[in-house]
């Protein structure tokens, strides 16, 4: 493992961890955020009800 390899590892993993931590903090500290947030999995497609 070279120095350049360690730098790429730390920057990549550290950067993604920081970004995820920021998002989680934002969700937790923003009042009412969860009421308007969606994932692909929880979006209901109305065509299912038509059958």
């Amino acid at each position: 493992m070279t120095v350049a390899g360690w730098i790429i590892l730390l920057v990549t993993v550290g950067g993604m961890t920081a970004m995820l931590a920021w998002c989680i903090t934002k969700v937790v500290t923003t009042p009412g955020a969860t009421e308007h947030m969606h994932s692909q999995a929880d979006i209901h497609t109305p065509d299912v009800d038509e059958d």
């Binding site: 493992m1 070279t2 350049a4 390899g5 360690w6 790429i8 590892l9 920057v11 990549t12 993993v13 950067g15 993604m16 961890t17 970004m19 995820l20 920021w22 998002c23 989680i24 934002k26 969700v27 937790v28 923003t30 009412g32 955020a33 969860t34 308007h36 947030m37 969606h38 994932s39 692909q40 999995a41 929880d42 979006i43 209901h44 497609t45 109305p46 065509d47 299912v48 009800d49 038509e50 059958d51």
Partner: protein, 534 residues
């Protein structure tokens, strides 16, 4: 006493939303495709275009998809041809949207096959079929035999075909009966369980040391180097970065794992309400996905593959998705309760794959409903038949997994790349960047920075077009040079590659013809509405 109760409920809701949003993006792309792509494209060098693509393309275009889909939904469309036609105001938009039907349907064809490998491995751990001892080569032989890597048609003689049928039936029943709403539960609870399981595996990988004293170079630190070092034997970092296919593959991997450029996010976001958040939702999904990919996918599979199987295996993995199926069983073999963790990991990965594959047919279902006028159940049945034929083709042409890898490259990388380019141009230049950002900011639970506008309007399209032009030029140059081999050479020389590209073209023709009918139908509806209003 009421206040603390509300606070506890609120905390539970927030955790649930975080788990659902981040978990929805986790799938085979993170744990299996990413290590395969990194191994084939220079290890640490691959991470440089990967991070650039994440910042300049992945997150901005994820936001573009969420906003464009919600905008199209308000115009009354849920399919890409309908949404693109509505945004562009021309029939040509519908034909550009055909890519958003071809991509998820064709990816579904091979994705379900890889899903079947996960289910089979979970089953084999449960029944003792994967107790193959300490020799890592035994796991490679097992995988090669199981998926039919040595000879076309041989996968039909293994249990792989039965697991594929089980996966097809599971997907068909869940989609046909409209039970996909239940996948929310999977994302909320099964995905965090997968991450915890992966963390346990990561701890074991990081404590492997030098498992074989006869091969002292095959140790963990060198294994991490195989994944993260930007320079490789015979190739410097700059030489790696001078290859356009690395940049295209990195962008393709970002798109694949974020489900951007698939046509899936845009279809689902078309069902959102006008003031639902798309900014924080999109960013949290992207961040959770990126973290799983680099911190788990990048730290586990290639280091383990190097430690047990050496650099030669890392340089020539068995297909884009195969590395994890050879390397990880060697890790589980070195763990206490390894069979249990092996079962748990592959079963949870199977569930993660199911949550993704369930959504892959929705863009085409929405199109058949609103464009052709058939109901959901007919759409699902038709698409299941088409994808079953396509999967059968991929399973039959299993030698070197060439059919799977060829379709994954041309559809899972190149077509996704093209669709992402079309989407960003439509959003920034046709809809207009100001109107687009207004759409993105509506209901946003985070401030959308102003600099994202120039990135979406100028940087992303220029980056995508220049890179694609460079890639095409390099492919033509390599094709004309008799000493180098290009993707075009592979198509020219190999019958399986020719048939695979033929299958892609056949699917494209099929959906284009359906789009001709859909455009005619939409025109008639518009004319009837105009007549009624006048």
């Amino acid at each position: 006493m009421a206040k603390p109760t509300r606070s506890i409920e609120s905390w539970g809701t927030r955790v649930g939303v975080i788990l659902a949003v981040t978990g929805s993006a986790v799938g085979l792309g993170n744990f299996l495709r990413f290590p395969g792509q990194a191994a084939q494209n220079g290890g640490g060098s691959f991470l440089i275009p990967y991070i650039v693509a994440f910042i300049l393309l992945g997150l901005p275009i994820a936001w573009v998809e969420w906003a464009l889909g919600r905008y199209g939904g308000r115009k009354g469309f849920n399919s890409l041809p309908g949404i693109f036609r509505s945004v562009w105001g021309r029939d040509a938009g519908a034909y550009a949207g055909v890519l958003g039907l071809i991509i998820p349907v064709m990816i579904y064809m091979y994705y379900v096959f890889v899903e079947a490998w996960c289910l089979a491995y979970a089953f084999q751990y449960l029944t003792g079929g994967l107790r193959l001892g300490a020799n890592p080569g035994a796991y490679e032989d097992h995988f090669n035999h199981f998926v039919g890597i040595n000879q076309n048609g041989s996968a039909f003689g293994t249990s792989a075909i039965w697991f594929l049928i089980v996966c097809f039936v599971i997907n068909f029943v869940l989609i046909y009966r409209g039970l996909s709403k239940g996948i929310e539960w999977f994302c909320k609870w099964a995905m965090p369980a997968l991450v915890i399981c992966a963390l346990i595996v990561l701890v074991r990988v990081l404590t492997l040391g030098t498992p074989n004293p006869d091969l002292p170079d095959q140790n963990l630190v060198n294994g991490l180097g195989a994944m993260w070092n930007p320079a490789r034997e015979g190739q410097t970092m700059l030489q790696s970065l001078a290859r356009p296919e690395i940049w295209v593959a990195a962008a393709g991997q970002i798109f694949f794992s974020l489900s951007v450029g698939f046509g899936i996010v845009i279809t689902y976001s078309s069902y959102l309400k006008r003031d639902d958040d798309v900014a924080l939702s999109g960013m949290t999904a992207a961040a959770g996905n990126g973290w799983c990919e680099v911190a788990l996918g990048g730290m586990i599979t290639i280091p383990a593959a190097f430690v047990f199987l050496g650099q030669a295996f890392v340089d020539n993995p068995p297909g884009t998705f195969g590395m994890g199926f050879v390397a990880l069983p060697s890790v589980f073999n070195q763990m206490p309760a390894g069979s249990f963790f092996g079962f748990l990991f592959f079963f949870l990965l199977f569930l993660a794959a199911v949550t993704s594959s369930l959504s892959m047919l929705q863009p085409a279902i929405a199109f058949l409903e609103e464009g052709i006028g058939v109901d959901r159940k007919v759409s699902v049945t038709l698409l299941s038949l088409i994808t079953a034929l396509g999967s059968g083709f991929i399973v039959y042409f299993s030698q070197s997994l060439l059919a799977l890898d060829t379709i994954d490259f041309w559809v899972g990388t190149v077509c996704i790349y093209l669709l992402a380019t079309i989407q960003v141009v439509l959003f920034a230049w046709v809809l207009g960047i100001n109107k687009g950002l207004e759409e993105l900011r509506r209901g946003a639970e985070m401030p959308v920075p102003g600099w994202i506008g120039p990135i979406i309007k100028y940087v992303a399209p220029v980056y995508l077009l220049l890179l694609f032009g460079w890639f095409v030029y390099d492919q033509v140059r390599q094709t004309l040079d008799p000493e180098t081999s290009s993707y075009l050479d592979t198509i020219a020389e190999n019958r399986t590659a020719q048939l695979s590209v033929g299958l892609v073209l056949l699917t494209a023709v099929f959906f284009t013809l359906l789009t001709v009918l859909a455009v005619r139908r939409w025109r008639e509806n518009e004319a009837a509405q105009q007549e009624a209003s006048s």
